[in-house]
Homo-oligomer: 200 residues x 2
């Protein structure tokens, strides 16, 4: 049926656009990448491009979402572990354009009223959930102490990796995997119960 063919073509075109958008962002940075350059490179007019993605913001959001879907499938399924998180970080060192897009777009989207703000709020919750599961699993297996505050430890790992990756963009000699392994070790060696409890 022609309808099915058109649908399949639409999906393929969408994927082509996401890939090209990522290349253009990787080359120019998020601020200087233009939808007109992306449209030209995939053989569409700007209105044609906007038929697939309603706005620049939606396009970038979908580039990042496609990455997350890939990473979930490749590195976290069926059960998230810290090793899977490290594999994502290792993979990130091979795709600096994606890391750059994530860092710049996350900061841009934090301004009041930005259309991608909700996406990032949801994504933070998603990553914290993955890491909380990984920490609970490590606790079940006796690798991580039972008195560790899981949510707090997950928050720490998310923030640390977000911070390291912007620093790494400026200085690619930084060993993100090594540093995050050491943070995990710190959490493993320490008891870190809720505030106020335990020795000082």
């Amino acid at each position: 049926m022609g309808g099915r063919g058109a649908y399949a073509k639409g999906v393929a075109k969408r994927e082509e656009i996401l890939a090209v958008a990522l290349e253009v962002v990787a080359k120019n940075g998020c601020r200087k990448a233009t939808t007109s350059e992306i449209a030209e490179r995939v053989g569409l007019t700007q209105p044609g491009l906007m038929h697939h993605f309603g706005s620049r913001e939606e396009l970038y959001q979908e580039v990042l979402r496609a990455r997350d879907v890939h990473d979930l499938d490749e590195y976290y399924a069926p059960n998230p572990r810290f090793e899977g998180f490290l594999s994502v970080i290792q993979h990130n060192t091979q795709v600096p354009g994606l890391v750059q897009l994530y860092a710049e777009f996350a900061a841009e989207a934090s301004i009041v009223g930005h259309p991608a703000h909700d996406y990032f709020v949801e994504r933070y919750a998603w990553v914290r959930g993955l890491l909380s599961s990984a920490i609970e699993r490590a606790q079940e297996e006796g690798e991580m102490g039972p008195d560790l505050d899981v949510a707090e430890a997950a928050d720490l790992i998310v923030a640390t990796s977000d911070g390291f990756q912007v620093e790494w963009l400026h200085d690619p000699t930084i060993d993100m995997v090594g540093r995050l392994t050491r943070v995990w070790e710190l959490l493993r060696r320490s008891s870190w119960p809720e505030s106020g409890a335990g020795p000082t």
Copy 2:
């Protein structure tokens, strides 16, 4: 003398421009803020503005540098302590526009060849140095264990605070000072010697 008056006026105009640039960035975000809006609000033409600051990138860099000079004087002098760092973070919650500019511009500047790249590399080294001094002081005073790897702990605090602040921009209910106090507590409770040493 007229020369001295012109110099003083130049300094005052420069400070006015920095203040207005920050307001415009806080309202629109780094990407949508324009030098034409800034020029108009300080009663200059764009070439007139560029007489004071050679480029948009130099202007934003100087806004951030002016913040650092202020913070160093207000919160770190004469000797940096972790409490001073927490005061900076507390102050940051009152100036979200600056935090937004820092986060977005740091990510933007990480692209190869960006004119503000060197500024951020130097700034990372500066902040790490301040925190290393604060940690060493805490060690001297017996607050922090002697086997803590100072450089590694400083790296961790810098990355964590950078990560928390982008998350905080998306969710201002996050207590950055509380979270960073807890990270300090984690480092204080733990022994965290160089990799490979100590119990596992």
